[in-house]
Symmetry: C2
Subunit: 186 residues, 2 copies
Amino acid sequence: MVIKMNYPNNIKKDYNKNVTYGNRGMFLENLINITNDYYLEKNIAVIYKKPTPIQVVKYDYHTKRITDAYYMSESTLDYNGIYKGYYIEFDAKSTNTNNLPLANIAEHQLKHLKKIIEHQGIVFLLIMINSEAYLLPGSKVIEFIANNKRKSIPYEYIQENGYMLKINYLKGIDYLKAVDLLIEEM
Amino acid sequence: MVIKMNYPNNIKKDYNKNVTYGNRGMFLENLINITNDYYLEKNIAVIYKKPTPIQVVKYDYHTKRITDAYYMSESTLDYNGIYKGYYIEFDAKSTNTNNLPLANIAEHQLKHLKKIIEHQGIVFLLIMINSEAYLLPGSKVIEFIANNKRKSIPYEYIQENGYMLKINYLKGIDYLKAVDLLIEEM
């Protein structure tokens, strides 16, 4: 699938090409990228995926290539930006079981999630589970962890406490529709 | 200079160590990192430097090292986060001349700046010029470019339209004091 889009910046966006759809995480990420590009193009919101933090060890100034580096762990969530004056931050989580293992959410990510709520931001998880997409508010993630000793969030909890999102393979996932409902409740 | 800080996350922060102060850009970046850590620790704001976007070309799964990669150009500004419910985004610019060359601000960064204002975010440049630090609101950057054909923003313009910030070599630059003034004007 190659989608023609007017990219608003000069970062080469090649996530529509050569994407292996066998990888569930990449599939969701790809849909979110399409959505964010759409939001940017239509001037609805400015939301980006943060670059993956990489520690550069060796850089060759002559060839302008990095020749040794490694991935660092993340303390924040993957996506952030602005919508209607609100600070938005979220992470994408995919699971191919009937629950979302909490091992997917690092301790420092959970702390970060709480901080964003405290500072009046909008924070959530975009979850792909049982071929459905849900927006689960950060407060509901915290609530679940506070009241349960389970090591995963069951599908039923996500269904009951999240907002189901329509998946459009060409247009992405219009998650801001659910964010509008969250704003109404603020 | 090694400053003991309680780091709130597991990303190894080594910017206080082995910093070459000969590099003006690094000096300002280091001060901003100290400030953001302080804000995080005191729960004043949650503002991070975005990781530098790197395109990974080769990854060795065995050694878990990236063996070929290159830096990509940025379309957004370097720092973003949340303060008092407001979306904050800014870039750090250092100059050792009596003006800020506009070559320092890429065309797509300027577009991005406009977008953030449109979506009711707070956007600015933190400028180190003549050994002084200034917060220059994004609107003033746009205004200058719209009304001038000069290829650099003169020191006088920055003085007149920016907020001068105190530099504390241990505590950083408390730029949120100036942001408070920007919020009052919104």
